[in-house]
Symmetry: C2
Subunit: 230 residues, 2 copies
């Protein structure tokens, strides 16, 4: 991806990178809302209109690299060993996405901290982040279902992915939302962060009820005839 074929593609890639770089710099420098698309375009030495032929919105430029990371998870799922449990495969897939030991592109290392800060500060970015998250869940579920066609139906796969991703996401937000959470996460050793994630995964895998719980729970058993108040 670094070396394109012709001059045309290489130039396009350079423009793309210039836009990303300019945007991240401006976001950090003056803040997200204070950065205009015109400013980003100017920083990359292109016209405002050109920006929109690379990214559909100001928000999306923050997520320029997420697709390839999701692909890591897909790889794990597609390459599952025949004797593995669905939950195990999913845990490995999550690990592939978050683990520092994996391959981080330069793009990711540069963008991730800014992105996280923006997700916590800017509603518009939150919207995009969460939309991507949900779409990723759906795709993971489809993939998982395809990988275990006779052990999981579509809904089970969705529930499984949802439980795992939900636990991890909410844990991540909680940990990162604490004072110093983001800084600790971004600058220092990610160990504590990974420890919490492991706990979250464990809860999701072993069940919210914990080990000594009764086998089955009820959901909306009650159904009185009363309807529609107010």
């Amino acid at each position: 991806m670094t070396t394109g074929q012709g001059l045309r593609e290489r130039k396009k890639e350079r423009t793309r990178q210039a836009l990303i770089t300019a945007a991240l710099e401006l976001f950090e420098e003056r803040g997200y809302d204070e950065t205009t698309i015109a400013g980003i375009a100017a920083g990359a030495d292109v016209s405002t209109r050109t920006f929109f032929s690379y990214f559909p919105s100001k928000e999306e430029i923050l997520f320029a690299d997420t697709e390839e990371r999701l692909a890591l998870a897909f790889e794990v799922i597609d390459g599952r060993r025949p004797d593995e449990q669905p939950a195990d495969v999913l845990v490995r897939a999550m690990s592939a996405v978050f683990d520092r030991a994996g391959h981080f592109s330069r793009e990711f290392v540069r963008a991730a901290p800014v992105r996280l800060r923006m997700i916590f500060a800017v509603p518009a970015v939150q919207g995009v982040a969460l939309r991507r998250l949900l779409s990723a869940q759906q795709r993971l579920a489809r993939r998982l279902h395809a990988a275990f066609p006779d052990r999981l139906d579509a809904v089970e796969a969705a529930a499984l992915v949802g439980a795992l991703v939900g636990a991890v996401t909410n844990t991540m937000m909680t940990v990162a939302g604490e004072s110093d959470g983001i800084e600790e996460l971004l600058t220092g050793d990610p160990e504590r962060f990974l420890v919490e994630l492991r706990r979250a995964v464990e809860i999701a895998v072993r069940g919210a009820a914990g080990p000594g719980a009764q086998p089955i729970r009820r959901f909306s058993r009650t159904r009185p005839p009363s309807h529609q108040s107010r």
Copy 2:
């Protein structure tokens, strides 16, 4: 809430309802993107500017009623019986939000179908929906932590809520995303839908790994020295 104190408040409430009604009608009639705020305001016989003193954006008008539904879940959590399991309380809370047996305001009955359709069709609405969802998870987790101060720490509560909400949400999206999913969900008997939700809750409560699984899973055990490729 139906009867305000003075003329002022009653008029305000009437204007608010007029805006909601006009918006829902227009959304259904010509579609979300085709509906302008100016059009909504005109439908409610107020100025465009006035719209913004009631709702901060076009999206939020679709979620005018969600806060009170979340309050139902809070009630359940706050009023837990002392001997209950956290997971059980959470399941009951979810049930209170989704179950048809509960109290549906007129607002909700009117808005929910349109809202669901828009969530599936309009990215901007997805963004708001998911932002609200995550914020709700955080608040639920805080509340749950407060309800079980010595059985759950903050991160466990977050993971638990995340797992349950994640499973339910993703299941809901999957079921509703099927052809006829939304229609079946909205018009007919919600039974099949609730059945699937119950399965999702069960998976989240009993654990993604299923009953016969090994007790503990690993998460990102591997950590080779290689760092930062590409």
